[in-house]
Symmetry: C2
Subunit: 382 residues, 2 copies
């Protein structure tokens, strides 16, 4: 269990729960979505903008910051919070996911992973101990164990051997972790195999962490597979610790996960799709590039109260996108993050009032009425 | 003379003057610098950001907005102010400068200019009447006559014939202008030839406009030539009308122009150089890419009170630039525009206290102590 996490209320209609997580940089109300700030910046947003959309905690990437500008430099500059001028909580991933996404550029051994930088081709070895050391230098409030994240297509035997190593790495991470005031979360693997997920949860629980994350989702599997893993794992995870699903997802994925009792999420979808002109609205997803919005003087989302919807027309947003203007990324990102964080706020209200099951059904029913969207590509690297 | 422009004070030490210009969207205190918002957005800045740096008036480009998204669309959306959500004054140029910058893509006749769009190669004809019509549709507070802007290398005879046509075009612009509440400024040409500048001023004054601009500067000439034209024209222009030098310039150019009695300026230098990592500070220009700033935890400019200098280190700004982050353009632009607009504010204070001549000497002396800067390219197209 975690001394800093409290479940305040469990929805009587489903597994959803309302919680709070205390960190050195503030209290996080859960369920919560964490905007991704890969390179020590959430793309196209100032910290002030993040406050405006009610971001409570952001995520930064160990892999990227280790390579550039370097964790030692950030430590010397007073840590990541001060470096990027974000005074709220930060979670850093361990670099595992990014390293395994490198494909041919990396080689895995019991010790760790040897990889080539995507920036300059230089060679590096990331071990559980180094991953923790980097995250201690960065000084995030919540840090993650170094894990292996096999692809969705990995064979059963590979996944089994992999999660055993991930458990040994988790032990090494816990042993290596020294810095006070930082919570360390363990990561559950096991692919789409329920028995392996159960085995991994046993392994990771037995080591004991401040929180538990599901890794290895949103790596190319079908939505039904993802939802199946969520459902299988939820009852096996500690009830009184925060539960984080890494790298998801679409709004409906978050709603599904919250329904099962998960608390924390991160994904590049709202920010990256924003830069590609894909915007989330109460009426469905909008491709702001589309000709249909050329003379549309109305707000992006009439139901939305964000700075963008209050002040700009769809016609203007389309113009900015077509002209390749930086303001396009700024406004689109602002709106999409507002959408995600408002959705979390609405979810918390629904849980508080024991109506999250209805909330979910209404949300899914709205989604199913949407026209298919052609531009909504999704991957976990910003 | 202009009913809306008032000179409140003339500095006793030089030609500098303090004025105010009333427009339907607010009063502008002069001397003033106008940030350039080519495509109905000052790149990387929201209107709120522009207020933060105390922008009083911004400039937008007729040529760009005519081609994309089209002036009719903007008119239909309630005009440029509403379209871009900027409630302050706007000045639009006539498109002349941009069209003449197209080189081989345009053909000049007495009627106007036939040109090919830089976007899709489509053919268009811009005439004085159309340039006014477009600007009326956009609805700017101050609009400009359509003029021919010959290159700095143009022959005397060419410049002479050109300014004669520019005068005929100015007459046509004035005759075509119908919209109330819009001030129309005339443009003086004449290249680097003082007699032709005098001739052009005579022509344009005799037609009579709400304000007078010098065109054809910052087109490749030496600084001494530019300053010579400023000096030659100042006493010939009406004393009680606003005077605008188009497309300048570096901070020292603005100071020089103010000293001679000019009131309004625009240039892409602060915004475009910002995106290229060139930043203006009280200690001189900084190339934020430079290795020397890698571990520099100090503010960009210790003398500056802007949002960027209050919150971020040089090391962080360098990191953002190297990582190609959008926030780099956002923060750098914010700082550079703050620098320019603060310089104008300081200039106005100095004029009010009759010490602008000293202010100029101190500023030029500071500039001359700067190390040469390798990255400070300058042209007038954003």
């Amino acid at each position: 269990m975690s001394a800093s996490f409290t479940v305040h209320h469990r929805d009587t209609s489903c597994g959803a729960r309302l919680g709070s997580l205390i960190t050195p940089h503030g209290v996080i109300e859960t369920p919560i979505f964490m905007p991704v700030g890969t390179n020590a910046t959430v793309k196209a947003m100032t910290p002030e903008d993040l406050r405006d959309v009610h971001a409570q905690i952001i995520l930064a990437n160990t892999y990227h910051l280790y390579l550039r500008p370097g964790h030692r430099l950030i430590e010397q500059m007073g840590g990541l919070h001060r470096f990027m001028n974000w005074s709220g909580p930060i979670l850093t991933d361990s670099g595992g996911f990014q390293v395994f996404s490198l494909g041919e550029l990396r080689k895995i051994s019991e010790d760790g992973v040897r990889f080539q930088s995507h920036l300059d081709g230089s060679y590096h070895v990331l071990t559980p101990e180094l991953a923790i050391g980097i995250q201690e230098s960065l000084g995030a409030d919540i840090i993650m164990c170094f894990d292996e994240c096999p692809p969705a297509t990995a064979e059963y035997d590979y996944v089994k051997r992999s999660l055993e190593m991930t458990a040994r790495w988790a032990r090494r991470c816990k042993d290596a972790h020294r810095r006070d005031g930082q919570q360390l979360f363990g990561i559950v693997q096991g692919g789409m195999h329920y028995d392996l997920r159960a085995r991994s949860i046993d392994d990771i629980r037995s080591i004991g962490f401040d929180g538990y994350a599901l890794g290895g989702l949103s790596v190319g599997e079908e939505k039904e597979q993802m939802y199946g893993v969520m459902e299988c794992c939820a009852p096996l995870l500690p009830q009184d610790s925060p539960r984080y699903i890494m790298g998801i997802g679409a709004p409906e994925d978050l709603i599904e996960a919250i329904w099962h009792g998960y608390d924390m999420f991160d994904c590049v979808m709202p920010t990256r799709n924003a830069r590609n002109g894909m915007l989330f609205t109460s009426q469905g997803r909008i491709n702001i590039k589309a000709k249909i919005y050329e003379e549309d003087g109305g707000p992006l989302d009439p139901q939305c109260g964000c700075m963008v919807c209050r002040n700009y027309s769809r016609a203007y947003l389309r113009h900015l996108y077509r002209a390749g203007e930086i303001l396009s990324s700024m406004l689109n990102t602002h709106h999409n993050l507002h959408y995600y964080l408002k959705l979390m706020q609405d979810a918390r209200s629904a849980i508080r009032e024991n109506r999250f099951d209805l909330f979910r059904r209404q949300f899914i029913s709205g989604i199913s009425k949407e026209k298919p969207f052609e531009g909504g590509i999704h991957s976990c690297l910003e």
